[in-house]
Symmetry: C2
Subunit: 452 residues, 2 copies
Amino acid sequence: MEELDILIEKVPELISNGEISSLRELFSEMNEVDIALLMDEIEAKERLFVFRVLPKDISADVFAYLEPESQEELVRMINDAELERLLDEMFLDDVVDFLEEVPANVVTRVLAHSDAETRKLINRFLKYPEDSAGSLMTIEMVQLHTNFTAAQAIEQIRKTGVDKETVYTCYCTDKHRHLLGSIPLLSLLLCDKDTLVGDIMEDEPQFISVNTLDDREYVADIVSKYDLLSVPVVDNENRLVGIITIDDVVDVIEEEVTEDFEKMAAMAPSDEEYLKTGVFKLARNRIIWLLILMISGTFTGMIIEGYETLLAGFVALTASMPMLMGTGGNAGSQVSTLIIRGLAVGEIEIKDYFKIVLKELRVATVCGLVLGAANIARMFIFSNDSTWPVVLVVSLAMFIAIIVSKLIGCSLPIFAKIVKLDPALMAGPMIATLVDIVTLVIYFALAKAFLI
Amino acid sequence: MEELDILIEKVPELISNGEISSLRELFSEMNEVDIALLMDEIEAKERLFVFRVLPKDISADVFAYLEPESQEELVRMINDAELERLLDEMFLDDVVDFLEEVPANVVTRVLAHSDAETRKLINRFLKYPEDSAGSLMTIEMVQLHTNFTAAQAIEQIRKTGVDKETVYTCYCTDKHRHLLGSIPLLSLLLCDKDTLVGDIMEDEPQFISVNTLDDREYVADIVSKYDLLSVPVVDNENRLVGIITIDDVVDVIEEEVTEDFEKMAAMAPSDEEYLKTGVFKLARNRIIWLLILMISGTFTGMIIEGYETLLAGFVALTASMPMLMGTGGNAGSQVSTLIIRGLAVGEIEIKDYFKIVLKELRVATVCGLVLGAANIARMFIFSNDSTWPVVLVVSLAMFIAIIVSKLIGCSLPIFAKIVKLDPALMAGPMIATLVDIVTLVIYFALAKAFLI
């Protein structure tokens, strides 16, 4: 395939020359994802042109991969017949994803051009909480009755399979749509033709399903833990209402990770792409935590003002302050990061807390001794005012600061987990702000004890 | 299923009472993943017992999900016949994963009990670079000749499918094993029985494959971008040598994210679980960066020593130092985190740099104005020594520090990308250390200009 950048130049040229057959040939050789990437980069009018030239069997797929802005523009430009055909071809979860991002008047037009059944479904989907399994699922799954034979099941897949998001795991229900089990397509292929679906399906208790109201992060954990290709979604009466496929789970994992990164860097999480987020929104996401952390900085200020005379007597004390607080903050954010990530992927649980504290005490002792010794060397090499008492106070303060920082760093995320806050909030910036205060208290207490 | 914690109590009891049939019944109702989790938690002798009562058809799967330590202990305890059967049942990629984690004498024993063909394959796999597609792939794929009919293809899947890691995408090759295309099982089911595989396969150029030496992060990007269930791996002559399935890709994504988190918190990345990593290894991973950042702290010390007299005259200047540096550091690490993550998921590219700088200048102005104003209020409320000149110097310094931090925060990750370093290294701790120095220089220059 030619590089996307070249195509972004070439396609508008082909359009203005009216070379439709070259365009058709080009798109027939491209992957849907790449066509969508290309369409996102060109002008709205050209995008409409491309959409109309696309082979009918892939245009709905391509549309699903477009950015919400391009989708919206395109829907505003196509006529009613085209809109109806598009909606007809798209998977329901893709329609819902799209509708969640566009203004109300576009939603209204789309609903007006859906048939009554789809409209009802879409409205139900739009009511699920934003991060729930319900809002993530699709209804295009293969449902088999337990009294089907394998041959009947395969025949049904052959008839209806092309419209399903996956046929590789089929779901077995009774006549009231209660979910009873699942069956991989492979088992249907390998077994005897007359075998009943109910006899070979995987049923409770090994069999895994999620509820429409389950959090999507929980769904992602389940799918990734059990290596599933899809997971069935049931309502409170255990009726099958949809499935979630692994490709959507991969997207969830990436979005959740991005949210964690944002929280850990003291920002309000956002699901918009950086380059597409407005300046004021970006600023708003960041200002809240910057303000909170700045105002907590008042405490460090008060502590310093309290030791005015001490600091005036020993300039090396003031000079070492930033280095000391920085080291404490770094030491603390190292361990808090490990704990937050461990909690997120399930490697660490609340009950491991005492094991972690013991481990961190030992790690901190090793780090503290090495850094304390390095600091002695550093101060004698770089600073002319260094005297043994001052150097020892700084190094001892550093040793204690590292121990305390490591303890704060491993305790706060677990404490957050216990009180049902997101552990990701207890990362670098928050830890550093707390550690700053504790480090200064220790530092000045030591200085007062040994230097005056 | 009963809770894992209860089972960890119950299973050893059943073992010591010799209740083998209850155990068999219990395990027949459990998922392989959960059985492995249970086996990781019990004693080695009990683990061996459980392994021996497991249904033969799932014991290899369960083994593949065990922790490396449990696998190693178990392999040391089972007899040669059991080892041979186990190796025979396992997927090659799981055997290789296991061998990569265990000591040489275990590897030797395993190789001694593999047949010649498998031994050759294992040795080849062990030679692929650790993070390459080659070390991640498996050889258990369905390979179809292009001149097969759909009926022949399905028959071949029926015969050999049960031993394959996935049959849902089959790969089409010529007689020299050159990869020509892929075909979803669904297409084989839906088409006419006499259709030739070669006529309906997806071939170049839409079709996607990776090379054995490609980085596994690249493989993960491809699979996630194109929503694939599996991707074929070829050698330099375009011969099909294996496939990588999405469940392994999900694991790669999670491991790569963990590495990014570790690097961003100034640690050497490690692929071991926190709770299983030794104290000295943890300490070593952390000390290197703590030392580097501490020694760079020397610069802040030197700057402060240079302004000794100025600081002695205005205690509020010293008192505001930590808050000022903290705010600068936080502001910088916010943007560096967004840029690092954007680069990692491909939302941001090097060519976006100037767009980003313009955006950050505007975001920083908004943040700087709000925080500068908040600081004026804060200082008058909390500090008795606050005079207008000092307060204005601190607020102005904060405004400039935020602008500069945002610029440093968005530039360094992109600069790292340009010089082929990992952008994740340019995160919070590194940014904060640099920002500390710049902030102090600005701060003292302003103080000198306006206060003396």
